[in-house]
Each structure stands twice: as structure tokens, then as C-alpha cells.
């Protein structure tokens, strides 16, 4: 089994409060791994530890072959990231954003040019490459942010609540993009509180109060808990 993320007993404490309390799981290459849970369950905190943004208090983790505690900077070279709060610089154009992040990951200008063309064609956005991000509606920004996160063809992409605030059609289109990237071998680690999106994932975990309450494929969970959809699964687990 080729695991791209392996986590054992990962914990993050703030004072006496454990935001993430001893979680363990593993993610395979090319897998779409969903991290579900209510707001405040600890999903974002867990993700930040895996991205090298925050030091774990206890436990161990491996991402793309590197240790989470000591090799944070190497991890960063192999991952992409998109957060709900921010992803693109608003006062830069689409292309300028792509150029910046491509360059930061060590891509050459020629590669940046061809890769960005390829990505923009995929969403039919090539003629807007010189538009200021500020002028774009939220749905497009999110799709572009995903594109930028995959500019440098990373092994894993971390997405933190990527579909907040957009209409269902845009969300569907976004998940098409995610699945496209997964098919090409990129593992996707995504947190969300939209339970219906869980159906798109290969496997999911549900976090409650910092702990993992369930870890399996969505269909298996629905069968286990005799639920008709993921919403019911969640409600049953959290009661």
C-alpha cells in the first residue's frame, strides 16, 4: 500500500483544551480523503498540522515521506493548499497569481506559461487570464484557487472548506475538477461541513470534538448505520 499521509495519535492542545485529540489514519496515493465534522470539531487544526503550519503537541505524522514535526519545510515543497479564507491575491491578475505561485515552487517561466494555459483551458477561462481577481465572482475564484494550488503538480492537495458560499452547480463543477486531479494521481485531502459532498470522496472520517468517530468509505458508513444519506450518518454519530 502506498500511503502518502500516515498519522498516529496526533494531538494539538491549546492550554488544557485539546482541539485535536489523538487521531490516527492513513491516506493512499490518488485517494480523495474527506475530513468531515461540525464547525469547531478540529478539522482545520488537524489540517494545519499536516501542512506544517502548526506544531503537533503529541503524536506523529508523515506527509509525502516527511516527518510533520521536524521536516515541515520539505513537506511544503510537495503539497498544494487552498484555504477558505483566502487563496488568491485580489489585486493581481489571474495569470500573475499563477506565475507567482508557480515561481515559488520552482517552476521555470516556460513551464509556468504552458501549465497555466493547460489549466485555464480545462475550465474555459483562458481569455480571462489578465482579469483582476477582485473583479471575479466567488465561484470562479474558487475554481482558480484550486488551479493555482495544483500548478506545480503536487502529490497532495489540501483543501480547507473550499466550497463555502457558492451555489450547488458551482460546487458540482468544483468537485469535477477535484476528481480530475485525483484521477491523475494527486491525493486530495479535503475538509468540509457539507455532508452531501462526502459522497464524492473515496473515504471519509467524521470528527467530533477533536476525535475521529468514523473512518470508512461513505457507502460503507451508510450501510453500517442504516442511513439513507450522509446527513443522517452524521446526525446518528453525533447524538
Amino acid at each position: 500500500m502506498d500511503y502518502i499521509i500516515e498519522v498516529k495519535g496526533l494531538t494539538k492542545r491549546f492550554g488544557s483544551f485539546a482541539a485535536v485529540d489523538g487521531i490516527s489514519f492513513a491516506v493512499r496515493r490518488g485517494e480523495i480523503f474527506g475530513f468531515l465534522g461540525a464547525n469547531g470539531a478540529g478539522k482545520t487544526t488537524a489540517m494545519r498540522m499536516l501542512c506544517g503550519l502548526s506544531f503537533p503537541t503529541e503524536g506523529s505524522g508523515m506527509v509525502a515521506g516527511f516527518d510533520v514535526m521536524t521536516q515541515g519545510e520539505q513537506i511544503k515543497r510537495h503539497i498544494g493548499y487552498m484555504s477558505q479564507r483566502f487563496s488568491l491575491y485580489e489585486d493581481l491578475t489571474v495569470y500573475e497569481n499563477m506565475e507567482l505561485f508557480g515561481g515559488i515552487y520552482g517552476m521555470k517561466q516556460a513551464d509556468i506559461a504552458s501549465r497555466s494555459r493547460e489549466l485555464l483551458d480545462r475550465i474555459n477561462f483562458a481569455d480571462h487570464k489578465d482579469d483582476l481577481v477582485q473583479s471575479l465572482p466567488l465561484g470562479w475564484r474558487q475554481k482558480l484557487a484550486f488551479m493555482v494550488a495544483t500548478m506545480h503538480s503536487p502529490e497532495i492537495v489540501f483543501l480547507d472548506e473550499p466550497t463555502g458560499g457558492v451555489d450547488p452547480i458551482t460546487r458540482r463543477q468544483f468537485w469535477d475538477l477535484i476528481r480530475g486531479a485525483a484521477r491523475q494521481g494527486t491525493a486530495i485531502f479535503v475538509t468540509t461541513h457539507y455532508m452531501d459532498e462526502a459522497a464524492y470522496c473515496d473515504r471519509i472520517t467524521i470528527m467530533v470534538d477533536g476525535r475521529i468517530k468514523a473512518l470508512d468509505a461513505p457507502s460503507a458508513l451508510m450501510q453500517q448505520l442504516e442511513a439513507k444519506n450522509m446527513n443522517e450518518v452524521f446526525v446518528k454519530l453525533c447524538r
Binding site: 515541515g72 493548499y81 484555504s83 483566502f86 493581481l92 507567482l100 515561481g103 515559488i104
Partner: protein
């Protein structure tokens, strides 16, 4: 290191697109250089004189008329009561008291030197200093005129004065280098710091933290544009000063630019360090403001270094502006060379390294 070039490019694009800041940065220096030297003209006018005349002679009347004729002096009162005049001095209504002794004219006509006392209120040292000069000049003139008319020869010492580098003691020439420094200080300090704190507050900094960009590269990318901006501001200021006031650097312009570059380096490093430890814009501003005030008032920019108590002078060794002020005034007005100012440059260099290192070390990508 290639990420650095991409980051710097992004900074410049953002700077250019931000109409408000880019316009401000380029217009502000010119405005300041135009207005401020006008404002800070410290020419002494209207020094009030009280004349205590115990002689009541034609000599003393001559002295009075010369005093009144002086453009800078105003004879506010005449009396024979010194105490009254002194009280006026205490109240600030009178700046100088001239006391003409009894039988002054007689003494003079006998070929001896009378003793005229001039008391000046030293609270406003410039005013009293210049004021007493003018008074003495006027009185001296009266004395020599009367002496000449009566055929008495006055042998009193010949005192001549020469002010190097600024013959007319034009206050603007003193202030212009100071304000150039203030400009560079303000722009290289506040804008990069605020830029960084805004990124922190908005969260865009997280996107950078998750990339392989190192602390070194990121800090540099925040500093480099503002060094360049600092140089531009300096150039604008120098040009404005030269074209409008006719003050061009007496010394080597290259020395000035080198010093300015070091100074911009130091101050922006300092600013970034403060921004790194601030969570909000308000904290950042207040702390920066605190230091900027201290720098402005204690580095010899507006008040002389030597007048401060020793312990305060020791503290200023750590202040970059103190060294820069020394360099600027010396090169701008006196034409001092780099070699002669080596200690200042060395100090600035050390401080630059220190502050930029602190800036880099206080930046945390992972918490």
C-alpha cells in the same frame, strides 16, 4: 532564491496597483520639502527690549534710537526701575534688559569704557542669543559714533565672527537635511510594517507560510521594494531642496545615497520586526509611533545631541537616525567625506545587520 524574484515582482505589482499609496509616496516628499522649510524659519523677530536708563544723556538717547532702528528689536519699555523690568522678563513680556549706568556718557568722554549690562532671558536660547547680538551691535554703534564725534578714541577689542558652511545661518539649511531624514524614516518604517500587518490580518500570509518560501526570502521580499522607494524619495527630496531653495549637497552625493540605503535597510528591518510581533494594526502603529517619536526628538535632528544628559547620549548609540543625522548634515552642508565619517557608517552598517537579522528571526512560519 528564485522565489525571491517572483515575490518581489508581486510586491511591485501590488504597489503600482494601489493608487493611493503610490501617489502618496511620490507626492508627500515633495509637499513636505516645499512646506516645511517655510514653516520652520527661525529667524528672530520682535525681540523685546527693556531699557533702564540711569544716565539720561544724549548718549543714552542715541543708544535708544539705534535700538529702535534695529529691525529685530522692539523697545517695549523704558524705565528706571530694574525690578519692574525683571518682572516683565519673568512674565515673558520682555526678552532683554539693557541697563545704562549713571554717568555713562561722562565716562566715555573721559576716554574710559563704561559698563553697560545686557541681561538676556536664556529660556529661548536662539532668541536671546541673537537678540543680545543685535542689541550689542546697536549699542556699540551708538558708542563709537558718540566717541568719534567727541574726538575720543575708543579702544575696545575687535571681535569678528565667522560661521562656516552656512554664512547667513539660514535655518532652512539646518532643517532641510533633518526633514529629508524624517521623510525617509517615515516612509521606510511605516509602509512596509503596515503592508505586513495587513497581510497578517487578512490571512494572505498563511498562503505563503504553506509554501517552501523561506523566512529569509519572504522578509527580503518585503524589504527590497521599500529600499528602492526610499532611494526614490531621497532623490525627490534632494531635487526639490536644490531647485526650490538652492541647497545642493556640498559633499559627495554618492556618500549620501550609500548612507540612505543603509539607513533605509535598518529602519525597514526594524519596522518588519515590530510588525512580526504585532497582531493588529493598532498595536503596530502605536509601537512604531513611539519609536519614531523617540528617534525624531532624541537623535540630534531637531535639538542638539550634546545638550542631552550623558546617559541619554549613550542610549542614542543604538538609534540608527542618530548616525544618519550626523552623516547627512555633515555631507550636505559641510562637505565631509566618507572616510571622515567612517565611525558613523560603521555604526549604521552594524545596526542594519542587527535589525534585519531580528526581522528575519522574529518571523515564524510555523506555530
Amino acid at each position: 532564491m528564485s522565489s525571491l524574484s517572483f515575490l518581489v515582482k508581486k510586491e511591485f505589482i501590488q504597489f503600482r496597483r494601489n493608487k493611493f499609496i503610490s501617489r502618496l509616496v511620490f507626492a508627500f516628499p515633495v509637499l513636505v520639502m516645499l512646506i516645511v522649510p517655510l514653516v520652520t524659519n527661525m529667524e528672530v523677530r520682535g525681540v523685546s527690549v527693556a531699557l533702564i536708563d540711569h544716565d539720561q544723556s544724549s548718549l543714552s538717547r542715541r543708544m535708544l534710537s539705534h535700538l529702535e532702528a534695529s529691525k529685530s528689536l522692539r523697545v517695549r519699555m523704558q524705565s528706571s526701575d530694574y525690578q519692574q523690568a525683571y518682572r516683565q522678563l519673568e512674565d515673558g513680556k520682555v526678552d532683554i534688559i539693557v541697563s545704562i549706568p549713571e554717568r555713562c556718557e561722562q565716562t566715555l568722554l573721559l576716554g574710559q569704557l563704561p559698563c553697560i549690562s545686557v541681561d538676556a532671558n536664556a529660556v529661548n536660547s536662539t532668541k536671546s542669543g541673537m537678540g543680545s547680538q543685535y542689541a550689542i551691535a546697536a549699542l556699540g554703534k551708538a558708542l563709537s559714533e558718540v566717541a568719534a564725534e567727541s574726538g575720543v578714541s575708543l579702544s575696545s577689542g575687535d571681535i569678528s565672527v565667522r560661521h562656516f558652511y552656512n554664512e547667513a545661518l539660514d535655518y532652512r539649511f539646518y532643517m532641510i537635511p533633518a526633514f529629508i531624514i524624517i521623510l525617509v524614516l517615515l516612509i521606510c518604517c511605516f509602509i512596509p510594517a503596515l503592508n505586513l500587518v495587513v497581510e497578517k490580518e487578512r490571512g494572505t500570509i498563511e498562503q505563503i507560510n504553506v509554501t517552501p518560501v523561506s523566512r529569509f526570502e519572504f522578509t527580503l521580499s518585503k524589504l527590497i521594494p521599500y529600499w528602492l522607494v526610499g532611494i526614490v524619495v531621497l532623490t525627490e527630496a534632494i531635487l526639490t531642496a536644490g531647485l526650490v531653495y538652492g541647497l545642493w549637497p556640498a559633499g559627495n552625493a554618492g556618500t549620501i545615497y550609500l548612507a540612505a540605503l543603509l539607513f533605509a535597510l535598518t529602519m525597514s528591518g526594524f519596522a518588519i520586526a515590530v510588525a512580526n510581533i504585532s497582531d493588529t494594526m493598532q498595536q503596530c502603529i502605536f509601537v512604531l509611533f513611539f519609536f519614531v517619536m523617540i528617534f525624531m526628538l532624541m537623535s540630534g535632528m531637531l535639538t542638539p545631541l550634546e545638550s542631552m544628559p550623558q546617559w541619554a547620549q549613550w542610549i542614542t548609540v543604538a538609534f540608527p537616525p542618530r548616525w544618519f543625522v550626523g552623516i547627512m548634515r555633515a555631507v550636505y552642508l559641510k562637505g565631509t567625506t566618507l572616510a571622515e565619517l567612517a565611525p558613523n557608517f560603521l555604526a549604521l552598517l552594524l545596526l542594519a545587520i542587527a535589525f534585519c537579522s531580528i526581522a528575519m528571526l522574529t518571523y515564524r512560519k510555523q506555530r
